[in-house]
Symmetry: C2
Subunit: 321 residues, 2 copies
């Protein structure tokens, strides 16, 4: 059971090690939506996504004996970079199991951070099994992408910062929108907010066809995505909600929304042109939900977590006209 | 004579009206340059550039009788948007004289902010004369882009924030690099820093062929650019240093650097891919100077002002391979 106290400990561990990302607001976006949008841009975080927070907290919470054997993980990219950078901070080895078709930028960045990258074929291999085999063989500690209390607590530090930053500008938020893959980010953030600002309605946002958390919340049980879907949101195309994250999210969330690739492209475009931020498709789904009118913002205030910015430049040439 | 007290008054006027832009740092950039680079991203400022600060301070410093007749200015784009947004905040009319070939994004944004845009042909018209004629006819107050003490004081608030933010992370800066067009931004910033952190060496950075401030500093007198140059840095292609700004900059600056279009494209690319920031060419020249090796950063700390982000998406398709 993850608690606000565990998230506070994570904040203490992270102090001076991560970027306290700002809270950003844009007149033109507020004007066009008729309310107030406060962005939490985790694309500006170390390694370009929120993942550094959870990975660092997990590694920091190990004792020296555990830590020195190194860490291993599996990830399509953002968590890989977060783990690699956190391991580098501690001077310990990291091994990352990545799909062969992960974005080149994410693969290169992971290697550049000193991690040993093991590629596998997403359509036949089981990345978790490969990582667990490496852990068993080398003694390395597994740093799961979301189903881990220390990882969730690290991501939850975003919630503490949001509360402080709302307070600093004397604002009261009505809703928070957050991208969801396995659900670790929103599990941490929602735990912090439900403890400190329980009136804020928290919604998960997922790509159409990968809205397993939305559907699972409606059904009250963990449900897999239907097979064969495609999405440009490579960072959050997980198959089923996490075993640890789902019970937390079921307790804390008001519901969920699904957005189309076209919604996401428009969100990425506006974030580029108006907000001057490079946000990856999976990182922009929360804003996409607002642009697509999933919530009426008239006279209300939304916090929108932008979870990452690790997108190849090529994307802007291909996707955005 | 602009003073640190006048800049402090500007900060009081701006309080709650502008974005206190964060100070951002990236491991990968530090690693590749062998030192520490602290970015001050004014692309995240209201209207996408630092210009809002000076325009707001100028308008706020007028008395009600002066202010109600509105304001007029001339600008290729960023100052136009800054003045339009500041005037809108006060509910007064704004007229902006812009070149016909200003980037479409800047022209559209200025109109969207409620300003009356008057276009002129840059190769034959005199924008300052057109603006002065409008001021004389309507009673509107001219808000000059740089040669004005209240405008300079507003831009100088960036210097105060830099000092606070260095203090917050317990960092000591050795140098500051800042884009220069007419010299208002660096005149304000350098006045603040020379009062509070006089050991910091301050350098102006300009595009090759438009390095009039660098040359003027060397010669000790205001010198125009040679005719016929071209640059992708539309925001800072001014012809000659300002009458008010140059004496300030001559007193405060350690020198200047010129960078090529190729240097700037590489800076914009790295800011996109690593920093996750959309920075316009003219806003990225300070970082371009570092990448081009104009200063050896080994073991040192540089503050780099990123002055704006108002670049058409099209630029990324055309310029960056």
């Amino acid at each position: 059971m993850i608690t606000i106290e565990e998230i506070s400990r994570a904040r203490t561990r992270l102090h001076g090690k991560h970027v306290v990302t700002p809270m950003l607001e844009y007149d033109r976006i507020n004007d066009s939506l008729g309310g107030r949008v406060l962005f939490k841009p985790e694309n500006l975080q170390r390694t370009g996504s929120f993942k550094f927070r959870g990975a660092f907290n997990k590694i920091a919470s190990l004792d020296d004996g555990q830590r020195k054997k190194g860490v291993v993980t599996f990830s399509s990219g953002n968590h890989a970079q977060g783990v690699a950078a956190a391991a580098k901070t501690f001077g310990i080895p990291a091994t990352v199991v990545m799909p062969e078709d992960a974005p080149i930028l994410k693969r290169e960045n992971t290697r550049r951070l000193g991690a040993d990258v093991v590629l596998y074929d997403r359509h036949v291999g089981d990345r978790k099994a490969i990582a667990e085999e490496i852990a068993a063989r080398t003694g390395a500690i597994l740093v799961p992408p979301y189903d881990d209390e220390m990882v969730i607590a690290g991501q939850g530090t975003i919630g503490l910062e949001v509360v402080d930053q709302l307070d600093a500008i004397n604002a009261r938020a009505d809703v928070l929108l957050c991208p969801v893959g396995g659900g670790g980010l929103i599990a941490g953030v929602s735990t912090a907010l439900k403890a400190l600002q329980p009136h804020i309605e928290i919604y998960c946002v997922e790509p159409e066809g990968f809205d397993d958390t939305r559907i699972s919340l409606e059904r009250g049980e963990r449900t897999s995505n239907r097979a064969g879907s495609r999405s440009i949101c490579d960072a959050i195309v997980t198959e089923i909600p996490g075993e640890i994250t789902f019970p937390i999210n079921r307790r804390n969330l008001a519901g969920g929304f699904a957005v189309s690739d076209a919604d996401v492209v428009e969100a990425v475009r506006q974030l580029f042109q108006i907000a001057k931020l490079v946000v990856e498709p999976g990182g922009a789904v929360g804003f996409a939900a607002l642009l697509a009118g999933r919530i009426d913002l008239q006279g209300r205030t939304a916090v929108v977590v932008l979870s990452g910015g690790n997108v190849d430049l090529e994307f802007f040439k291909l996707e955005i006209a």
